[in-house]
Amino acid sequence: MSHTDNHPSEQDCLAFVDGQLSPAGDTYRRVLRAMQSDPALAQRIRQDQAQREQLARTFDATLKAPIPPRLDPAGLRARQRGQDRRRLAMAASVVLGVTLGVVMLSDEPQTGDEELERFAAISLTASQQPASAPHSDTPVDEPPAVLPAGFKLTGIQDHDTISEWHLMDRSGKPLQLFIASSQEPRTARFHASQHGDKEVVYWRRGDRLFALVGERGTRGDLTQSAKALSEISPAAPRQLADTAPPSAHEDDLATIAPATAPITVPVTVQKTPN
């Protein structure tokens, strides 16, 4: 970089102007010596240094100017989180829509009850969402219904129109019971379906729709649990203002087999692709 005649090169002078040389280094001292012996070089270097300082001065005020709120990292971070949540919700909606489409279009409805089939599909999908994990449940101080012996309620999540109960069955297996209100009170027997690694048994009792979701391959146990749980009378999900109490449809219950009697469960496996 430096010349053999001890005169600094153009690059040395440039580096000197830009503060790239260590004051303790030989090159730095060589440039200083050259400036003492060469007034033209000294003037050029000083001119470059003056320009450099002037440039810094010209923009210095920007460093002290107040920062607009829109550049606040905390605000930007919060906005990004909101955007991420919206994207996630949109993705979940797409998944739900696709799942619903697959479940509903892949086979004829098993019950002829479109509302019940749709509810079962929603319950299946909701049970596979991370938000359905029991740790996010509302703590249960007072169970909203008397449960059959051996069942334990570990948590409740209220979605818009659906209540999701997290239960432990008599053998300690986790179950999810989805409950919704219907505008058309009637009764339907137990039906079953499966999707992914989940299995669902669903039924209708009066103006309540039920879907009991468990792990795939536990249909027998799930059906037994559904029979036991078919007798409960839960309150309506929070978001729905039902006008008719559950007891208004007691007559309909006659068509549901009592828990002690043999129940014919028309279990037809849904032919849904995974």
Binding site: Q11, D18, Q51
Partner: protein
């Protein structure tokens, strides 16, 4: 404080420097802040890619410079820098008459330089970066940076003669002239 929290705090400290560099690049306070906002948003998303052993400012400047180049693709021309424009109300410069005129001349001369030379000068002369750092930000070899600086300085020296009677600061404003 979490690692993300520490990053956000460090990021906040770099904002004035990002704004200054963006202003030098764009010549417009509004465009500069838009560019800085884009850069900050990107940095907040990519914060895990930053190596704490390296200088955050260089990492951010490189990001900002790339975004600036991207933004240029949709534009035919960039505004030239000069002084005294209400478009840049928050950018103040030292400006008693002599100093103001000098600043104006210097910015005008800078604006006449080829973009590559000007960008090299912004980083080294304005932001006080090392050659290695500036070359990394601009994604060019260090030798290329040196030659751009040398040519830029030659041009400035030929065009601009500084007034030795620079006075202390009074506030005025920058503007861009199309």
């Amino acid at each position: 404080m979490t690692r993300q929290g520490e990053f956000d705090a460090l990021l906040g400290e770099e904002i004035p420097h990002l704004r200054r560099y963006a202003l030098a690049l764009t010549g417009s306070a509004h465009r500069a802040d838009d560019l800085v906002q884009d850069c900050l948003e990107r940095a907040l998303r990519k914060w895990r890619l930053w190596n704490p052993a390296s200088r955050l400012r260089s990492w951010l400047f490189r990001m900002l410079y790339r975004q600036y180049l991207n933004s240029l693709r949709g534009q035919k021309r960039r505004p030239e820098l000069t002084l005294a424009d209400e478009q840049l109300p928050e950018v103040a410069v030292p400006a008693r008459h002599g100093a103001q005129r000098e600043c104006e001349e210097l910015l005008s001369d800078m604006a006449k330089l080829p973009e590559a030379q000007r960008n090299a000068l912004w980083l080294v002369a304005l932001e006080d970066m090392s050659y290695a750092e500036a070359a990394w930000v601009l994604n060019i070899p260090i030798g290329t940076l040196r030659s751009r600086l040398a040519r830029g300085r030659d041009s400035l020296r030929a065009r601009h003669q500084p007034d030795e009677t620079v006075q202390p600061a009074v506030t005025t404003h920058l503007r861009s002239v199309r």
